[in-house]
Structures are given as structure tokens and as C-alpha cells.
Symmetry: C2
Subunit: 457 residues, 2 copies
């Protein structure tokens, strides 16, 4: 191979320190989820193509990575599709499997397939990569991790409250407690459409509203009118969803504007109940945001989006979806969940320097290698140091001291320990503290107590 090898476009290697930091985010989330009684599951990277297809809309389908059947895949392909070079429809004949696009559809499949093994309400979390054939750009990758937490099999609004509490706890533990939780409800949006006389235009209305952030209210208005939505209705909707301020006041104003629309009342009631069951520290971070639509493809109740005051994009989002497993033939399963954006959280924590300094891609101790006999003494001491909970390594090669010191330095190892001819004879170690520059002479038998003592300094 002539050229330097590389990862495919849109995918990444993670270097040691990056891996440790990612692991820290996942471990933190996992520990919170488990304290609330959520349990982990894993699903395979590949799903049967038919499991995924048609679940993400036409655009989504195009972004699914299909896996070529092994063996003589062409022997089963249709002659006419081959002749017509019809890539799209041929792809389904030569790819029985595809890479998962998100964790939600595989979760629905999992629940239906394993329903007899599960206890409902089933509270699960899942932290796994997903793949999308999207155009790569800053912060958007073709392989990225999702971190989903959902309850399925319960329509109690206590689940929404619990999830918001979990969201707050995870971000607080990560040092990102300054979040803003934006809350909306599809029933309110749908009620607003009805109140504005645009019930039948609900779909177009929400698609347009979803663009408010990007193109602003004027353009959204133009778009709706261009699509044939009644101007008076459009104006009313845009005025209503602008309502902001304290949640209680906003809900009261809203209630006044949707008099007689049952569905809107129901949505307002739901929002009130979700907020009521929140601890005060979480409640204070919740804002009602009636412009929040989040595509709405399967949300039926609460819509949730979490932002941070120092960051533009959303770092977590989700909502209530009734009947998600219906697509796989199991009806009556209401679910609600949120998904954490691991990559964005990573970037934000990196920007704000929030990762613990204890995360380091190196050992606490390096023993310099001065030769076979000396190395054997060091191996024994390294083992003792590990047995009291620290990490230690012996440089494997009898390289020049300068090279070994450089290794310790570039890895950020704190203690460099040296056993040369003299130390070997005297059963001693010369220890250099790379932070303070101090040098100590320690008896070999005292080496692990030395590390413990120094660590407590």
C-alpha cells in the first residue's frame, strides 16, 4: 500500500486520552441511570434491512448503510434491475442487513422480540454507536455514539419528570449543571393548530415551525402561506407559539387563547403535571417553549430539548411516543425517552476544561530499565505498587536513560524510579518526582508506602 492508511471519511479513531474522557462521560451517565433503576441492554450493530427501512422517512432511508450479502449476491438479483442499473431498488435485493441508524427502532424491535423476558414498565438505557451516510461536517460524523434512556410500558407522566431529573443529575455530575430544559407538548401544538383553524395543515405547520430557529418567523410565515395555509391562521399560530415567560403564566395565557379545544387543555394539563413532580432544583431550569417541534415524527406527548447556556446546539432531547412498538406488531406500549448527544457533550466539556485531571493516559510510576537483573527487582516492586491500587510499569527495553526519561515525560508519569547497580546492591530505589523535581532515596521494601504517602500529600 503506497499511501498512508486512514479511517473512512466521517469516522474517527479515538486516542487514549480521548477514549478515557468518553468513557468518563458514559460511566457518569450509566451510574445515574442505574441509581434510578434503569438497566442496560445491547443490540447488534446489524439489523435485518426490513427492520430499519421505512422508519426514518425517505431521506432517512437513503442514509442507512446497507451491508452487501456475502457470496454470490448477484445470482439472486433481478435481471431487469441489473440491466436498468437501478441502484436503489437493487440495493434491497443484495443487502439483507443494514447498520443501525439510531437506537430507538432497534429498541422497539428488542422489546417486541424479547417481550416475554422483560418486566414492564421496562426502564432501559443503551450506549452504542450508530451509523449514518450523512455528509460529514464539523461535529457531524458517520459513526457516532448515542446514549438513550427510555421507559416503555407506562403512560404515567411521572416518567417524564423522572427523565428530566435524570438529565439534570447527569449534567450536574459532568459539571454542566447550567442547563436549560425546553419543554413542549405535541397536544398543545395540535390544539393550537385547531384553535387557528388549521387542523388539517398540522403536519405542514410543524415542519415549518421546526425551522424557526434557522430562518426566523418572517420566512416561516412566508413558507406557510406559500403552502396554501390561511394567512389569519398562520398569524395566530405564530403569535401563540411566541408566548414565553414563567411556565404558569404562559400556560394561563395559552389556555385563554385555545378556549374549547380539548386537546390543548389536555396538553396544558400534562405539562403542569410533569413540572409538578420535579424537584425544585430541576423545575427552575425548565422553560415552556411552544416553538419546539423536533420533527415530531413519532412524538405524541411531551417534547424535550436540553441546551446549555454556553453552547449553541442541543445536547440532549427526546419525548413521549405512544405505540412505538406498533410498527412491529405490539400495540399499547407507550414510551418516553431522551437521548444524550455524547459528541457535543464531549466538545462542551473539553471547551470548559471539565474533565477530571485524574484522567490521564499513563501510569503513576515508571521504573527505568538498567538491565536484566535490575529489571527483575523493578518488576517485583511494580507488582507491589499495583497491589495497593496504583498503576506502574517497567520500561521494557534497556534503552538510554534519556530516552526512558523522555517516555515518562511525554506520557505525564509522575514518579520515575531508578534501580541501578548501586541501588540493587543497597536494596534501594532513587525516585524522581517529575512534578516537584525532588529526588528521594527509598528502600525497596518501603516503595508502596512511599507512593501512598506521596499521593496523600
Amino acid at each position: 500500500m503506497a499511501t498512508k492508511p486512514s479511517t473512512p471519511k466521517g469516522t474517527r479513531d479515538f486516542l487514549p486520552l480521548q477514549s478515557l474522557k468518553r468513557q468518563f462521560i458514559f460511566d457518569t451517565a450509566r451510574s445515574v441511570f442505574q441509581q434510578f433503576g434503569y438497566v442496560p441492554i445491547e443490540t447488534p450493530a446489524m439489523e435485518n434491512t426490513e427492520t430499519l427501512l421505512g422508519k426514518y422517512g425517505e431521506e432517512g432511508d437513503k442514509l442507512i448503510y446497507k451491508i452487501l450479502n456475502n457470496g454470490d449476491f448477484l445470482s439472486k438479483a433481478s435481471e431487469d434491475k441489473l440491466a436498468a442499473k437501478d441502484s436503489n431498488s437493487l440495493s434491497f435485493e443484495i443487502s439483507d442487513r443494514a447498520l443501525r441508524y439510531d437506537l430507538t427502532v432497534p429498541f422497539a424491535r428488542f422489546v417486541v422480540q424479547n417481550q416475554n423476558e422483560l418486566t414492564f414498565p421496562f426502564k432501559r438505557f443503551q450506549i452504542q454507536p450508530v451509523w449514518r451516510a450523512d455528509r460529514p461536517q464539523k461535529g457531524r460524523y458517520r459513526e457516532f455514539y448515542q446514549c438513550d434512556v427510555d421507559v416503555i410500558g407506562s403512560d404515567s407522566l411521572l416518567n417524564e419528570s423522572e427523565l428530566l431529573t435524570i438529565v439534570d443529575e447527569v449534567f450536574t455530575k459532568l459539571g454542566l449543571g447550567d442547563i436549560v430544559i425546553r419543554l413542549n407538548n405535541r397536544k398543545i401544538l395540535s390544539g393550537i393548530a385547531t384553535a387557528a383553524g388549521m387542523k388539517e395543515h398540522f403536519q405542514s405547520m410543524t415542519i415549518a415551525i421546526d425551522k424557526l430557529d434557522k430562518i426566523g418567523p418572517e420566512k416561516v410565515k412566508e413558507e406557510m402561506i406559500a403552502q396554501g395555509l390561511p394567512e389569519a391562521g398562520v398569524k395566530k399560530v405564530l403569535n401563540l407559539i411566541k408566548l414565553k415567560g414563567k411556565v404558569d403564566d404562559t400556560l394561563r395565557m395559552l389556555a385563554g387563547a385555545v378556549v374549547g379545544v380539548e386537546e390543548a387543555y389536555k396538553g396544558i394539563e400534562e405539562v403542569k403535571n410533569v413540572i409538578k413532580a420535579l424537584p425544585e432544583r430541576v423545575r427552575s431550569k425548565v422553560e415552556l417553549d411552544l416553538t419546539l417541534a423536533r420533527g415530531l415524527n413519532y412524538y405524541t406527548g411531551a417534547i424535550i430539548e436540553v441546551g446549555h447556556k454556553d453552547f449553541n446546539s442541543s445536547i440532549c432531547g427526546g419525548g413521549r411516543y405512544d405505540n412505538l412498538t406498533g410498527i412491529f406488531g405490539l400495540d399499547g406500549m407507550s414510551g418516553v425517552g431522551v437521548s444524550f448527544g455524547a459528541d457535543r457533550i464531549y466538545d462542551l466539556m473539553e471547551d470548559k476544561n471539565l474533565f477530571p485531571t485524574s484522567l490521564k493516559a499513563s501510569s503513576d510510576v515508571l521504573f527505568v530499565n538498567f538491565g536484566p537483573a535490575e529489571a527483575l527487582a523493578c518488576i517485583a516492586m511494580a507488582s507491589e505498587i499495583r497491589s495497593v491500587g496504583f498503576s506502574a510499569e517497567v520500561y521494557p527495553d534497556e534503552a538510554k536513560l534519556k530516552k526512558q526519561m523522555k517516555y515518562a515525560d511525554s506520557k505525564g508519569i509522575r514518579f520515575v524510579m531508578m534501580v541501578g547497580t548501586e541501588e540493587l546492591a543497597n536494596k534501594q530505589v532513587t525516585v524522581k518526582d517529575m512534578i516537584t523535581g525532588e529526588q528521594h532515596t527509598v528502600f525497596q521494601k518501603d516503595i508502596s508506602s512511599f507512593v501512598i504517602d506521596k499521593h496523600q500529600d
Copy 2:
């Protein structure tokens, strides 16, 4: 979708308890690796097809899952290959990416691509899934995890010793300390071939030897002779590799049989040095096994295979490979590593009931839901219980008591806590210990101390 959805053949879902147990294995391995100064890396699931192809032999290439290019992939395909329905060669034109087949080749690619960011010797571990289009059978899957630990950029034999020590430590921590470490060296095998006058038949010889376990020495002998290997040589080889017993004695006998063959001496010296640097507790588990060939496709020195007395198959294996990164244009990087067989280790631990009982897919505490006001009191108490390190959940729905008790029972939750009208008025909780059957009345303010106390019982 009419039929019940399922995972693709050869792939699996992991239910909560399975996921927790797998996580336990990985966490245990990770903690040992890190104590020895090894650091984690991650590589993408997809590699460029050309990165993987030709690295695993012809058979291996067929087992690589290729990912269909998105968009109009047929427009770039050769007319003649399409017309000839030549699936194999067409597959390379329509699949730029493929799923990784192991972690070794991606690691080599990683080292070459990121060489300027790494400090050598580079000691890394990697725990990620791999995919192979193998025929699924008991214990063999199309998606499975590998757990690899390697040192690259050092040819010191201390690395081999350290890896064997790590292997012993991981298995001891998992309760599988009764391992047998089988050690061989390619230089010894190659020296034996030379001593038996079969230097030019080395490849065929090792392929045949590799089958000893499966078909026995008679059939192996027949196979070698049928392939045209000299009968006298074949007999000599089969006699030599039978040598067993204490490592020192065996090496002495072997040395007597390969007089004058430099390469064999070198291999014997290497084995001696690897064993010399082992702690006694590990040394006692090492056996020299001259029949160990492990395909040998890239091993150049030590060959390692780890078994357990209660298990037929190997649970860990590896070896030394000089110049692994040479395939990507970076020469002079010697490496050595081992790979843990996570699925087999899981099965063995399950058989022997070795997973800690503290691993459970449930909470410590369930609060029964008797209605909105009661639930609010419970939510506050659950939060307190979590703050002292236990897991607690509030049943989300106001369901029948029987149903809620059944939920607690089937999830194995120990404490069921009840706040009904009376308890709400008296600021109390009725606690049922599902293990002992005892019932307690506790003041709500004392609830977290109660859980702490009971946990220490």
C-alpha cells in the same frame, strides 16, 4: 410487518443481566490493563475496504462484511462485471468500506496513521466488536467482542512476561485462576523443521500440526506424507513436538535434538527469558507446548494460548509479530499481544456461577405508587436514598398493589416501600424486606439511614 421481528442470524441482543455481566468482565480486564500502564483506544467499525483486504488470507477475505456504497453505486460499476454477474470482483467496485474483522489490522492502521501522536513503546488495549460472515454455530457468532492488549515498538521479552502476568491477573480477578498457559515459539518450530530436514516444507508442516488437537497424530502424519513431505522428517518432527513435562527439562531435551540449528537455540533462549521474568505464581501455570502453532500467519516469536482446566476451548491467545505495521508502510515495529475471548469467558463464568451476586438488573428499593400525593413523598425519599449510594425507583403508575409487588418480585428488588394515606399523614413508611419477609415501620426522615443499616446487616 407481519412476522415477529428478529436479530439477523448469528447476532444477538443482550438482556439487562447479560449486559451487566459482560460489562463486569470488560471492567475487570480494563482495570488490570490500566494498572500495568496500558491505555485504551477505539477505532471505527468501518475501515476502507483496501485496509482490510488481503490481510486474512483468501478465506478470511470472503468473511469480511462489505458495506454497499450509498447513492447510485451501479453507475461506477464495470459493464463487463455486471454482465458476467461476477459478484466477487463487482463487490470491490461497489463497496468502499467494510466492517472490521479483528482488532489487530485496525490497530496496525491506527499506529501508522497516528504515529506522531503516540509515545513508543505504545501499550494499548481495545475492547470492541468485530464482524465475520462465518457460518453461525454454538459459541460462534457473526458479531462478537474482542478484547486485545498489545505492546508495539519494543522487542524486549519483558513484554511477553508482562502480558502473561496480566493474563493471570485478569483471570484470577474473574475467579478463573486455574488457567494453563501454553507457550511455544515460532523459532523453535522453524528450527525443528530445519533439524528434520524439512525447512522448505515449514508452511505445510505447521498447517498440519495445527490440526493435531482435532484429528490426532496419525492423521496428521498421513496428511504430511500425502503432501510429499519426507517420511523420516515427519516422524522426527512428530516425535519432537510431543516433548512435554517441566519446561526446563523439555527445553534441555529439545536442545539435544536440534544441535547446530541456530534458530532453534534462539527460540529456546527466548522461552527461557520469558519464563525467567514471570512471578512464581504465573510461572507455575506455564507449560511448553511445541504442538502450538495457532495458524502462525503473522507470529514470529512467542505463541501463547490460554486454557482452563474446566473448559475445552482456548479462552485467550496471542503472540509476537515482528513488523505488523509493515503492511501499511511503517517498518521496524515489533509487537506482541494477546486477545481475550469474551464470549467464552462469559460462558465459563456462567457455568461456574462466578459472577458477583451484586450484579442485578434492578434497584435496591421500589416505592409503591398509591396516588399522586403519596408518589410525590416517595419521589423525595427515593432521591435521598440515591444520594447515599443506593438505587431506588418509584413505580410510575397507580396500579393495583398486586401488580406492583409482582414487578418488585420479578426484578428481584429487596425493599418494597409503601406510603399510603395513613403513612402519608404520620410521615412514615411501611417497608417490606422481600428477602426476609420482615415488615418495618420507619419514619420518612430516617429512610436513608434505614437502608444503610440494613445493607450492613
